[in-house]
């Protein structure tokens, strides 16, 4: 046999290269999706985009006297998210510290499992629970005492009712706990043991070891985890929609925590199906979506970068 016959002719594109390029194209679909998402949101919200849209407070979808200002909803999103961060992050950090530094092994596994289940509960079920159960806890155990003793403060004005900005913020706090806690825990576990040993060798107690050796080292990673939580809080829809009271226009300005409010996401969920397609109402709601998109993108990008830098491992390890 002619030696050359043992090698069949090779084509310019081998099967393997073909396979690789096909996979590359498929994995590029998500990038394309994100790109088109911006494009479509922008295109459809163009008719309403203006400074007045972002900074206006009036919201009137009646044809003839249409007016779309979304400042109250931007502020509503911010205030509820800040409550979520202020309440949720310290709790998450406590959990992360307990899980990574204090808990015995068998408790650690079970507890991590339970915390992860908290993340698995659908948003609408949080909403249902918030609407029928949690709202009364907030009203009776938090709002009524606050209003009694600190009612003179402007942020605690109004009759405690339970379907308001505070409840929405607190339910968001619960919902971001699994995200923030599990990422913080990973960050803490990524702290090299030499840090802990250095502190122990100075005669530090366990808490001092955590404070000096671990937390100071993991600071920026924890900030990243918190921002990741913020990203989740900003875009969360159903649970908020069901407990925030859904105020409209100037009434939705979050001047007091005991007031009904509205976030960007809840506004979209509430009004999207009722919008008259011949008016600018759908465009205005898409515009809200665009602002939300930009906000979420910024927050997420920022968080990803911070967390990666700490974990320094293969991207995507962050849940």
């Amino acid at each position: 046999m002619d030696e050359n016959m043992k090698y069949p002719p090779k084509f310019f594109l081998s099967v393997d290269d073909f396979f690789k390029y096909i996979l590359g194209i498929i994995s590029g679909l998500v990038v394309l999706t994100l790109f088109f998402m911006v494009l479509e949101l922008f295109r459809h919200s163009l008719p309403v985009l203006s400074l007045k849209f972002v900074f206006g407070v009036n919201w009137n979808p009646v044809v003839g006297s249409e007016e779309y200002g979304i400042l109250p909803y931007i502020l509503g999103t911010m205030v509820t998210s800040v409550i979520a961060i202020v309440v949720g992050v310290p709790i998450s950090l406590g959990i992360a510290i307990y899980l990574s530094e204090m808990a015995p092994n068998f408790i650690r596994t079970t507890l991590s499992f339970i915390i992860e289940l908290l993340a698995a509960v659908p948003s609408v079920i949080y909403g249902l629970w918030g609407l029928f159960i949690f709202r009364f806890w907030v009203r009776d155990f938090i709002e009524i005492p606050l209003s009694k003793y600190l009612g003179f403060l402007p942020i605690f004005q109004g009759e405690p009712f339970g379907l308001d900005i505070l409840t929405a913020g607190l339910i968001l706090a619960i919902m971001i706990i699994p995200t923030v806690a599990s990422v913080s825990r990973e960050v803490l576990m990524a702290v090299p043991n030499s840090q802990r040993e250095a502190a122990y060798s100075l005669g530090a107690t366990k808490w001092e070891v955590i404070r000096l050796g671990v937390l100071s080292y993991a600071k920026s990673g924890i900030v990243g985890a918190a921002i990741l939580g913020l990203g989740r809080a900003v875009g969360e829809t159903m649970a908020v929609t069901m407990v925030i009271g859904n105020a409209i226009g100037a009434a939705a300005l979050p001047t007091s925590l005991f007031k009904a409010g509205q976030t960007m996401a809840s506004l979209i969920a509430n009004e999207f199906n009722e919008a008259d397609p011949t008016s600018l109402h759908p465009n205005a709601l898409v515009g809200v979506g665009l602002i939300l998109f930009v906000l979420a993108l910024t927050v997420n990008l920022f968080a990803q970068v911070l967390v990666w830098r700490i974990l320094k491992i293969k991207e995507g390890a962050v849940e």
Binding site: K20, H44, G94, I95, Y98, M102, I125, V286, G289, A317
Partner: protein
């Protein structure tokens, strides 16, 4: 220092020691309290959903659709059907794309393009689902001129793909390189090696990812509002509105009738059983994988 020698100084060190010791205990208590605070809502949710949902469960609940608004009785069979159809359609789109792009990232993704894809997936995994819903509305619903299960499935697939991509990539990266080499040395082509040797070895991890992603999309509500709308009826075609458990729960909760709330809790019980069992099963599967890997 002099005070170390005198008695008062000793007690001062002792004092600081006691304070430090107390701080240590206190920190422990605070952290434990955080854990308890986080577990209470989960406990309460599971308890309330079970307590309020169980009375709703009966034969009619599972085989009938809802009656006219305000009229008690009826069931949520159409919503269960809708959720199952959505899971099926979404998986049809999302599972192959997710697995294939996970393969790309693990096997060929060590470049700039791979980095961009990975970043995009990470962003989409955390992205507000309602915005994804709007996107599906603007592209699919406006295109075909009607609410459609297809639009819902595409929106959910955008949520599903990043999850599957990530878990697939991670599991493939755990497959030792020696297996790839062994296969390539036999003169097996790269794509064959990946599909028949590497992917099969990483099977459990990939299946875990699929189950986790299904558990996630089954609980999604927001993107369904503007894609499948919700409906009183059973599935009636790809260009008609359809119902889903999550949408049904939301609409029922906002109705001013007690029967609606009971049905809502019942639907929540069904949903939470689907979601949590998938989730728990997926995690058990991963755990057994770790045991196997030790062999």
């Amino acid at each position: 220092m002099a005070y170390i020698k005198d008695k008062g100084g000793c007690s001062r060190i002792m004092q600081t020691y006691l304070v430090r010791k107390f701080k240590d205990k206190f920190a422990y208590a605070v952290c434990l309290a955080c854990v308890i605070v986080a577990v209470i809502p989960l406990g309460s949710i599971l308890f309330e959903v079970t307590k309020n949902g169980l009375p709703a469960l009966n034969m009619e609940f599972f085989i009938e659709g809802p009656r006219a608004i305000g009229e008690p009785g009826g069931g949520i069979a159409n919503s269960i059907q809708g959720t199952l159809i959505l899971i099926g359609l979404t998986s049809l789109i999302g599972v192959p794309i997710g697995i294939l792009s996970g393969i790309y990232l693990a096997e060929f993704g060590n470049n700039k393009f791979g980095k961009i894809v990975r970043l995009t997936n990470n962003i989409l995994a955390q992205f507000p689902s309602i915005v994804i819903g709007i996107f599906a509305y603007l592209t699919i619903v406006l295109l075909i001129g009607s609410f459609s299960p297809l639009a819902g499935a595409i929106a959910l697939a955008i949520i599903m793909i990043p999850i599957i991509t990530r878990t697939t990539e991670e599991s493939l990266k755990l497959v030792p390189n020696t297996l790839r080499e062994a296969s390539m040395a036999l003169g097996i082509r790269r794509w064959r090696t990946i599909m028949s040797i590497v992917l099969v070895s990483a099977k459990n991890g990939v299946v875990t990812g699929i189950m986790l992603s299904i558990s996630r999309i089954a609980g999604e509500t927001a993107p369904l509002i503007m894609t499948i709308l919700g409906s009183q009826w059973f599935f009636s075609g790809l260009t008609e509105p359809m119902d889903a458990l999550t949408l049904r729960i939301w609409r029922l909760a906002l109705l001013p009738y007690d029967y609606a709330h009971t049905t809502g809790w019942g639907a929540a019980l069904v949903l939470i059983i689907i979601v949590l069992s998938l989730n728990i099963l997926a995690r058990i599967l991963t755990r057994s994988k770790f045991v196997l890997r030790g062999v």
